[in-house]
């Protein structure tokens, strides 16, 4: 297996990008990435892997052709990768594998989603498409509702407090307040976060990620060849992935995301590292409870101690392991199919020492990207070379 590095990473501004199309958002991300490598030309890129749910359905089929056309790469192999909110994490996986295997030398992996400019009813419909349609949806279940089921049970089993959930939102809004690309560039107080209107009890509006337009794009390269383009490539030293039952009620545990546990183990084993070696992480906080589950599933703390970990401040900038320094899905935003590689964007900047919320001298980082309510997950470990 060849060693694989990231030589550039770009991201569009996240938020309500009224009037912007999928492909226009992707161009923004692509151009930022290309601008970081002086001597790389479009013709050097050999394949594209694009994550998207195609939210709203306006370009559900053959989206990859639309995307590569927008960045003048037409002709190269390209495909849309779909695993709901975990789409671009999986797009990245296939991009890495295509280089590691020797088939490609330089490829792009990215994602795009357009969620605004859509009627509320259409949006509510699309939020449900990645769940179990035949059974969960027939009970009137919603996407936040499923994570709420996990939260209620976690609170019962481990005494996790509502304050812990709200503290995740406060921390991530704080990080986002210094990120010029974030959807919400403002801090919130714990009191605000605790007392907002209920979406799906025990989750309120501040426990939920927003509706976001956005795109992200990273350029991957064989690590030997990468020297030609940059002195500071970031190596992908471990990557894992897993799946689980689509329906929450069929899973072995409601308070653990097994797909994430499997993906983490696979990535740590490949990297020959342990959770304690990670210095900065971006985890999938689509809902505040999801960040707490991520701490436990990755192994940053013991099962059941996730609530304590956030309350003790261990994941703030001064903590043992700062998490979601870009603002997370909660405050930076969650353009579904773009999120996985948007997390890579943050860690790439951290490991090159270029981040707005820089973790001092970080050399090893991790991303954790979850699809649906935990039916798919990828975990990626990156290291400064």
């Amino acid at each position: 297996m060849r060693r694989v590095g990231i030589i550039a990473a770009g991201e569009s501004k996240f938020g309500a990008r009224v009037g912007m199309e999928y492909e226009e958002l992707f161009v923004e991300a692509f151009l930022e990435a290309m601008g970081q490598v002086d001597n790389l030309e479009s013709k050097d890129i050999q394949e594209a892997f694009v994550g998207s749910l195609a939210f709203g359905g306006s370009q559900l089929g053959n989206m990859s052709a639309l995307v590569v056309d927008s960045v003048n790469l037409i002709g190269i192999p390209a495909s849309r990768v779909e695993n709901a909110c975990g789409s671009s994490g999986y797009a990245l996986r296939y991009a890495i594998m295509s280089i590691a295997s020797g088939i490609n030398d330089i490829v792009i992996a990215g994602g795009v989603e357009k969620m605004q400019d859509i009627s509320k009813a259409t949006r509510l419909y699309w939020f449900g498409v990645a769940g179990d349609i035949k059974w969960e949806r027939l009970s009137g279940m919603t996407f936040p509702g499923n994570y709420a089921l996990m939260a209620t049970r976690h609170m019962k089993e481990f005494g996790t407090k509502k304050e812990a959930l709200s503290s995740v939102a406060v921390k991530n809004h704080d990080f986002a307040s210094r990120n010029p690309k974030a959807q919400f560039q403002r801090k919130i107080t714990l009191e605000q976060a605790m007392n907002a209107p209920i979406v799906a009890y025990p989750l309120n509006i501040y426990d939920c990620c927003p509706i976001t337009d956005g795109a992200s794009c990273v350029i991957l390269c064989d690590l030997e060849i990468a020297k030609k383009y940059t002195d500071t490539p970031i190596e992908i030293v471990g990557f894992g992935a897993g799946t689980d039952h689509l329906a929450l009620y069929q899973r072995e545990s409601i308070t653990r995301i097994d797909a994430a546990v499997k993906a983490s183990k696979m990535a740590f084993k490949m990297a020959n590292l342990q959770p304690k070696d990670i210095e900065v992480a971006e985890v999938h906080d689509c809902f505040t409870i999801a960040e707490i589950l991520a701490y436990e599933d990755i192994g940053f703390c013991k099962k059941g101690d996730g609530g304590k970990m956030i309350l003790d401040g261990e994941t703030t900038i001064h903590g043992r392991i700062p998490v979601n320094t870009g603002g997370g899905l909660k405050a930076k935003g969650h353009p579904i199919g773009a999120t996985g590689t948007a997390q890579i964007y943050e860690i790439f900047k951290q490991l090159r020492g270029e981040h707005e919320n820089q973790v001092h001298d970080a050399t090893i980082g991790l991303t954790h990207n979850v699809g649906g309510t935990g039916s798919a997950c990828t975990v990626t470990i990156l290291r400064r070379v």
């Binding site: 009813a121 509510l124 419909y125 449900g128 179990d132 349609i133 035949k134 059974w135 969960e136 949806r137 027939l138 009970s139 009137g140 279940m141 919603t142 936040p144 509702g145 709420a148 089921l149 996990m150 939260a151 209620t152 049970r153 019962k156 209107p197 209920i198 979406v199 799906a200 009890y201 025990p202 989750l203 329906a247 929450l248 009620y249 069929q250 409601i254």
Partner: protein, 140 residues
């Protein structure tokens, strides 16, 4: 709307009306809904159909706030307000995802509450009223 076509809904009526599960004659596992391959031992076509009793306890729950219901439940929520959804652990040992009814979601529902199935209207789609099971508290 969550598009569950009429033929697809019809195919699952034994589950939606009577909680028909597949008991594996090879390993004893209960599969709900019945599957071609047993979820536990992987054997093909070994499942005998049995009816679950429709009684159990709330394992975890949520309450869907006003305005948060999927489109097909929006009418019901406008009329009745927030509603509770639970994962119920049935007496037979397996779990299912159901809507709770005949209770005040904020006052009555808690983990461990005993519930039983009741036949109800679920929603209307493609001009057909879909019926199925909801669960309500057992008053002792």
């Amino acid at each position: 709307m969550a598009h569950v076509s009429i033929p697809k809904y019809w195919k699952a009526l034994p589950q939606k009306y009577r909680l028909v599960a597949g008991k594996c004659s090879n390993c004893g596992e209960l599969n709900f809904p019945p599957t071609t391959l047993c979820k536990k031992c992987g054997q093909e076509n070994t499942q005998k159909h049995i009816e679950l009793k429709g009684k159990g306890t709330v394992y975890t729950y949520t309450i869907i706030g006003r305005g948060g219901a999927p489109p097909e439940f929006a009418k019901m929520q406008k009329k009745c307000g927030p509603y509770a959804i639970a994962i119920v652990e049935l007496e037979e040992g397996l779990k299912i995802n159901v809507q709770l009814t005949d209770c005040d979601p904020f006052k009555d529902v808690n983990i461990g509450m005993k519930v039983s199935a009741v036949f109800r209207r679920i929603y209307e789609q493609e001009n057909v009223i879909r019926y199925g099971l909801k669960f309500r508290p057992i008053i002792e």
